[in-house]
Amino acid sequence: MAQLTFREAIAHGLAQEMRRDPSVVMIGEDIGAAGGVFKGTVGLFEEFGPVRVRDTPISEQAILGAAMGAAMTGLRPVAEVMFSDFFAVCWDIVANEIAKSRYMTNGQVSFPLVIRSGNGGGLRFGAQHSQSVENWAMMVPGLKVVVPSNARDVIGLMAAAIRDPDPVIFLEAKALYPTKSEIPEGEILDTLGTATVPRSGADATLVALGAMVPRALAAAEELAEQGIDCTVVDVRSLVPLDTQTILREVSATGRMFTVEENPRLCGWGAELSSIVTEEAFYDLDGPIVRITTPHIPLPAADALEDLAIPSVERIVETVVKSMNS
């Protein structure tokens, strides 16, 4: 087993799929010889050449429009939107065109495409380059939304996303790019819509996504020292959503805490809270508690950004306070 960083796993996962399927092509800004601004596509230009790894102008509508037109005519494009904040300049293509055209045409067209994007904060980039926009995508019918939390899952979920016949928004937590994990030999292929349980405990269930998963795991270690034994669920995929795993793991402990990087209102945790309340209410021993970024634009200064995004300390404090009240 080798170790790969999250950013190396991006290129590894893309290469795995590009080698097996010549219809997989990539477009985006600076993804070619430059290897991507986050170095997520290093080596792909050299291996697959400029026809399959194609640089584009700063034209997000054209990048995603091209991906859509190509997907409906036989290719499996992987388009990169450099920062997920930039979805705001091309959201028509995502939300109105890609997401709806299959339904509107009574199933005449399909969009086997992936839109990769650097998501979330922690890099001190300020309010326009740090947002967690998974909820923008989750609320549009017709989009699948995948958010890996470690390098191994990047590869497996990337493969599943590329092979999926539907459009997938693949959000890469920028804060995780340098993190490493063990990568098994050979092909890695996951299934979309499957949550994992990286830690099991008896007292409370922390449900986390993306960059919040390692924080939830770290918090669980500290909580264990204080006598609170936590399960951690890595949601991995918001659409499709593995509600069965979440319901099972919440019912087993009787307590649910969501750990969300997104601003408070309409976060994915609110939807999960609704589902758990409707379907597992009598298994709960206390209120569902959401731990989120406050409902503010993200500040740039490290001192302030660290206060905004849920930290290990805040997760621990919140869980302790709630469990003891």
């Binding site: 409906m72 005519t73 509107m104 067209v109 017709g142």
Partner: protein
């Protein structure tokens, strides 16, 4: 002037298609007034020559991308009238079983890759189809129709640059009917020819054609499509035309000066072509017979569309995903 048999056959077909588009739209309008066509609709009355002329220059394997004013372009690709009319009426025998409506007519089997209702989007989507043809080494061409108003939105400019730098096999066709919805395009546009003048900025030849002359449209479209097919890159055609009605069902078009409307009605593409065909040797009987056949087709489509049932509830949750369903959780 006399024409060869194949010439006259082709020209009579161009006439037939224009008449079919005209009579279909008139019927759609009548059915609106009867409240059988619901929602909104954007008729292509007056703009038939653009749709007919360009479609005649395309191969069956080529792709059309159209706007919400797309009835003409759908029919011109050979999609039968009944499913189109039934779609407008929200019936299960509609082109998309009633799930799309007037603004989203699509028939992939006819190369009609969709009607797009958000201004500008389909220009970049057409680029994607053209990229796919280029990558896969097919000789397919994407043809993208849009209105003069589209030339002022960002996606128009992104698409032109993209198509030019990648030398994509795409032909952009601007139907310049002088009005962006209710406003004169010349009042809100920095250049005289909104599409052609911008084409220069992206290294494309500005091509302006009389959009009410189907022969002229056919000619420039053929040249542009051949160029694209030969790998010589994109083209921009600006076809000057005029819509006979308002922007949509809700608009009587009162903002247009009477003399302007009169002048354009005198340049109605169908009577103009009728006269030309007679001058070139077609007989009045031939043209009347074409008109009768079209009316019979429109009448039959009307009856068949009216006979269609409303779409059943089983369609509501169908086809969000490629597996045919809409499940978002387990």
């Amino acid at each position: 002037m006399t024409m060869t048999t194949s010439h006259i056959t082709a020209k009579l077909e161009l006439y037939r298609v224009q008449v079919a588009l005209r009579e279909f739209e008139r019927r759609a309008h009548d059915l609106f007034l009867e409240n059988l066509v619901k929602g909104t609709s954007h008729l292509g009355l007056g703009q038939e020559a653009v749709a007919a002329g360009v479609a005649a220059a395309m191969r069956p394997t080529d792709w059309t991308f159209a706007t919400y004013r797309g009835h003409n372009h759908t029919l011109a690709r050979g999609v039968p009238m009944t499913p189109v009319l039934a779609e407008l009426m929200g019936r299960s025998n509609g082109l998309m079983a009633g799930k799309g409506g007037s603004m989203h007519l699509t028939s992939v089997e006819h190369g009609m890759m969709g009607s797009y209702a958000i201004i500008g989007a389909h220009l970049v989507i057409a680029c994607g189809a053209a990229w796919s043809a280029q990558y896969r080494g097919t000789d397919q061409v994407a043809v993208c129709f849009f209105g003069d108003g589209t030339t002022n939105i960002g996606a128009f400019h992104e698409a032109l640059n993209f198509a030019a730098i990648w030398k994509l096999p795409v032909v952009f066709v601007c139907e310049n009917n002088l009005y962006m919805e209710y406003t004169r395009t010349s009042d809100i546009t920095a250049v005289e020819h909104p599409a052609a003048d911008r084409a220069r900025a992206y290294g494309l030849e500005p091509i302006i054609v009389d959009g009410n002359d189907v022969d002229a449209v056919f000619e420039v479209a053929s040249t542009a499509i051949d160029r694209a097919r030969a790998g010589e890159g994109p083209s921009m055609i600006e076809a000057k035309t005029y819509r006979h009605g308002g922007h949509s069902r809700a608009d009587p078009g009162k903002y247009r000066p009477d003399e302007e409307v009169k002048a354009w009605l005198a340049r109605d593409p169908i009577p103009m072509y009728h006269s030309r065909l007679l001058a070139e040797g077609a007989s009045e009987e031939q043209l009347v017979a074409i008109h009768h056949a079209v009316m019979a087709e429109v009448d039959l489509a009307t009856e068949e569309a009216k006979a269609g049932t409303p779409p059943g509830p089983e369609l509501l949750m169908k086809d969000v995903w490629a597996d045919g369903g809409s499940q978002w959780r387990n």
